[in-house]
């Protein structure tokens, strides 16, 4: 009788396989049937149009040419309708591991994916030219041209006329004033402060409507990177009807309730479903009122985002053809592996994400500048980039990444794994092979930064190879890591940065940013004068000078001087800059991965 049970088991297994196969074919058949029905319907519509057109032609022939012009116009319109009807409705399905963090309200959103969606659905006064190597090539968007006074504290913008929000509301200068007034007014009521993070309240004094299509910004300071800030998502122009002046609408208890709909971008947000505070479905439809429709944008009718829990499942999804495109985040190992897959195409581009090493200066050993410089000289960035990131990141020798104005190779002066310098400096500070320098090197362990443990291990190896340093690796997840940073208990720690706006102004300050808690910027430490304080003051003066000029040569010199001081002080030490990549199933075109890290989905086509 056991054969019977075995037969049942085999039959069940066969049943599972057959039923899954049947389901696959049935679904495919239903899909095909649905496509066929759409095609037939489009064809019927087109044939009806053609029939009608032919009747009109016959009428024209019969009635002579008296109404020729009118008939021709009708004919042209009808042919356009036929063309539109026959054009396939195109959809791009994008896989990502990102999710909107809290809101799509530009007054509060402060995460990559939230900003990404805002860029597709919203308009800003200016935008960065796709593919710009420096991120400083600005294009007109909702503004057609602009100018500033010599002091760079008054900026005028002439706005594009005839622009409509997606609900049909006409755009004008009052909307620009409203958007910035609202963003600044909301700062006190948002405990976490975005977009205070961009410093709007510290930069913008007031916004003035000069004309229906002209607006003026009065700034509190001379500020050359202003266009960079205006191109950021926080500067998205909102429609007052959907964005209350003093309220991020949280009352409904759902992030979606805080989204002012009807922006002026290439797409409109047609679906946004979240489960347990995480996105499960986002769909964008082409905005019928987009100002640049005549140029053929947006290229795709629909963009659908699918949300994956990690890089592995995203990789499988692109390989299985479940998505047309995978962007953020496939791992370096996966993406290099996928390069050999003929069914997918990997797109490469510049990166803007950097990592740097911070030293806690309020106590020994890193209150001694010689020790900081010695440790910096012993780092081996190349080994990390080649071994951990498989060549997909580059060693960084300035806090400003390559390609951007003001980038230098200043830290090359100390070299990589330069043990001669390390040994001599540490000897002067009282350390040698019998009395080694000992400290804790911390890294973040919950995936907030890529491959942190692997990096830390290689840094430790390189440092200990000097023969005069002993490193103890320690780690904490992101929550613990930030708490440790704020409590200033970590000797040395790896940190990362992703820019708010693409300008050296948004990188150079990392050498002394107070929220990194290195204490480099304090006049006194533990009641004693901080020997690094004069250097800090000098750097800040140079930084402010660079902010106040549009002279690029001068700005470059000023940032180079900041870097030169940074090499002597080693308050924060640049480690590497990442590159960007996306994976698509061919044929997909129009992808630009540049220093902004913005994915401009309206340029993408199949």
């Amino acid at each position: 009788m056991e054969k019977i049970e075995l037969s049942i088991v085999v039959l069940v297994l066969i049943g599972i396989i057959v039923s899954s196969g049947t389901m696959y074919y049935m679904t495919t058949a239903i899909d095909n049937l649905s496509t066929l029905t759409d095609d037939v319907s489009t064809l019927t519509e087109s044939v009806t149009n053609l029939t009608s057109t032919v009747s009109d032609l016959a009428l024209i022939m019969a009635e002579g040419f008296e109404e020729y012009a009118e008939a021709l116009a009708a004919l042209t319109a009808r042919l356009a309708a036929i063309e539109a009807g026959l054009a396939a409705k195109e959809t791009l399905i994008v896989g990502t591991t990102d999710s909107v963090e809290k809101t799509l309200d530009p007054a509060q959103a402060y995460d990559y994916f939230g900003w990404c969606i805002l860029q597709q659905i919203g308009g800003t006064l200016v935008s960065v030219e796709p593919g710009s190597p420096t991120g400083a090539d600005f294009l007109p968007d909702l503004a057609v041209n602009w100018s500033s006074n010599e002091d760079l504290d008054i900026w005028d913008f002439n706005l594009r006329e005839g622009v409509k929000f997606s609900d049909g509301t006409e755009f004008n200068a009052t909307h620009v004033k409203y958007s910035f007034d609202r963003a600044i007014a909301l700062i006190p009521s948002i405990p976490e402060g975005a977009p205070a993070g961009l410093g709007y309240d510290a930069i913008i004094d007031s916004t003035e409507v000069l004309d229906t299509y002209k607006v003026r910004f009065h700034l509190k300071m001379s500020f050359s990177p202003f266009l960079g800030i205006l191109a950021s998502r926080s500067s998205t122009i909102v429609n007052p009807q959907y964005a209350p002046i003093a309220q991020i609408n949280h009352t409904a208890g759902d992030a979606r309730a805080s989204t002012p709909v009807a922006f002026a971008g290439p797409y409109v947000l047609s679906k946004w479903n979240r489960v347990a505070g995480r996105d499960v479905e986002v769909k964008l439809d082409a905005n019928p009122n987009y100002w640049d429709l005549a140029s053929g944008y947006p290229k795709m009718d629909y963009i659908i985002f699918r949300f994956y829990s990690d890089a592995t499942t995203l990789r499988l999804a692109i390989e299985a053809g479940d998505v047309d495109m995978a962007y953020r985040h496939t791992s370096p190992t996966d993406v290099l592996d996928l390069e050999d897959n003929p069914n997918v195409k990997v797109w490469w581009g510049t990166g803007a994400q950097i990592q740097y090493l911070c030293f806690q200066q309020k106590r020994a050993p890193f209150n001694d500048t010689r020790v900081r410089v010695a440790v910096t000289a012993a780092l081996n960035r190349t080994a990390v980039c080649e071994t951990v990131f498989l060549g997909l990141s580059d060693p960084l020798y300035s806090i400003i990444p390559p390609g951007m104005l003001g980038h230098t190779e200043a830290f090359q002066k100390l070299g990589d794994a330069n043990y001669t310098l390390t040994t001599s400096l540490l000897a002067a500070a009282g350390y040698d092979s019998t009395n080694k320098l000992e400290f804790d090197l911390w890294y973040e362990s919950s995936g907030h930064y890529p491959m942190s443990a692997e990096q830390a291990l290689l840094y430790k190896e390189a440092l200990e190879a000097s023969g005069v340093i002993t490193v103890t690796l320690k780690y904490a997840d992101w929550a613990g890591y930030k708490q440790n940073r704020d409590n200033e208990i970590m000797d040395a720690y790896i940190y990362g940065w992703y820019p708010d706006y693409v300008d050296p102004d948004n990188y150079a300050f990392l050498y002394w940013a107070s929220w990194i808690h290195t204490n480099y910027y304090n006049e006194t430490i533990n009641g004693l004068p901080n020997p690094s304080y004069p250097a800090y003051l000098e750097q800040v003066a140079l930084y402010d000078e660079a902010r106040a000029t549009t002279n690029t040569t001068l700005r470059e010199e000023l940032y180079a001087q900041i870097d030169a001081i940074a090499v002597e002080q080693c308050s924060a030490v640049p480690l590497w800059v990442g590159s960007g990549w996306a994976v698509t199933t061919p044929p997909i075109y129009g992808i630009y991965i540049d220093i902004t890290q913005d994915m401009r989905y309206w340029l993408i086509y199949k």
């Binding site: 075995l6 991020i248 347990a276 505070g277 995480r278 994956y308 704020d486």
Partner: protein, 346 residues
């Protein structure tokens, strides 16, 4: 003790169980390093801003006050009547959102996965367990036992990735992850279970798409669980098949299948049933890994995400939800057991 008294006692016992669980989670979360307030600020946070956020999250109050406030929320009947779920507080990360709302939006996905996995595990486990016991010490017995051991030992994410590679990447029969093809509209929420809701709405395409998406994760979790079921069924069946009443049934000339399934399995089933109840807790634990592997937007994914954010209220709520669910399943199993075996009530 009558069946009714037994049920009332069991229900009353769930209250201290849940309270203990909740208290432990409440305390452990607050002992962990990491400040949920600091996570709201990347930079430029003044002490005033930090304090304002701490007040907004209710973390400025003493621990006992926070605890009592939380318990008070849980038994707020008015809130439950208004919202349909207990007041589990606001998320400490997404401060505008109710934890109850978040949890109840994620729970149907986990429940659907759990139900289908349990069905698969039970069918495979019981059938193979019976087959193994019937062919004791034969090659098929060894093979089935080996299968049981391997499936019990293999990590969920590994089996999941193997299935994704075979059925998703190479054969392209089934989607590698997610609950439904994004090109297809999910069914309107009635129960939150896509397969049921799409059927209730007569949405055949939605049903097939959601079933296709469900197949790989539930097969993965079901096969992993089936290993324990196989061993349990086999052991119980072996003991039962040796009993006199089975020999007597055979002697009376009853069909082999009637003796096996009608007599032996029915008697061997009681301990298996108990184990199925206990396995539900393991199943929910397994669901966390399965959900991660298949990007399944359920409660497991929610808990993992929220631990990183030190979202105290969210984790408390999710653990209470899991606890409540496991307790309810155990209660149902106990009641069924008592119903099937009157000796339990004596």
């Amino acid at each position: 003790m009558g069946l009714r008294s037994y049920i009332i006692t069991r229900i009353l016992l769930t209250i201290p169980t849940l309270l203990l669980l909740l208290s432990m989670v409440f305390l452990v979360m607050r002992v962990l390093p990491g400040d949920p307030v600091a996570l709201h600020f990347e930079k430029r946070a003044t002490p005033e801003q930090m304090e304002s956020m701490r007040r907004a999250l209710g973390l400025d109050k003493p621990l006992w006050a926070q605890y009592l406030e939380y318990l008070g929320g849980l038994v707020d009947i008015g809130y439950i009547l208004d919202h349909g779920y207990p007041n589990l507080g606001r998320s400490m990360y997404q401060t505008s959102e109710e934890v109850g709302g978040q949890i109840f939006s994620a729970f149907p996905a986990t429940l659907e996965l759990a139900i289908y996995s349990m069905i698969i595990a039970s069918v495979i486990g019981v059938l193979l367990g019976v087959a193994s016991s019937k062919s004791y010490n034969s090659i098929s017995d060894h093979l089935i036992r080996g299968f049981g051991t391997v499936t019990y030992a293999v990590p969920i994410f590994f089996l999941g990735i193997v299935f994704q590679l075979i059925f998703g990447v190479y054969l392209r029969w089934l989607p590698t992850s997610l609950r439904i093809n994004p090109a297809v509209d999910p069914p309107a929420t009635i129960t939150g279970l896509y397969t049921i809701d799409s059927l209730l709405q007569g949405n055949l395409l939605g049903f097939f798409e959601s079933l296709k998406a469900l197949l790989l994760p539930s097969l993965t979790l079901g096969i992993i669980l089936s290993g324990m079921f196989i061993r349990m069924t086999r052991t119980n069946m072996l003991e039962t098949l040796r009993l006199d009443f089975v020999t007597a049934a055979k002697a009376r000339g009853l069909k082999e299948s009637t003796v096996t399934y009608g007599y032996a399995l029915r008697n061997a089933f009681l301990p298996i049933l108990t184990m199925m109840g206990l396995q539900f807790a393991i199943l929910l634990g397994g669901a966390i890994l399965t959900e991660k592997t298949f990007s399944w937007p359920g409660l497991g994914t929610y808990i993992v995400d929220r631990i990183d954010f030190r979202d105290y209220t969210a984790i408390q709520g999710a653990v209470v939800m899991f606890g409540l669910f496991v307790t309810l399943v155990s209660l149902v199993v106990d009641i069924l057991y008592a119903y099937l075996d009157p000796r339990i009530r004596l």
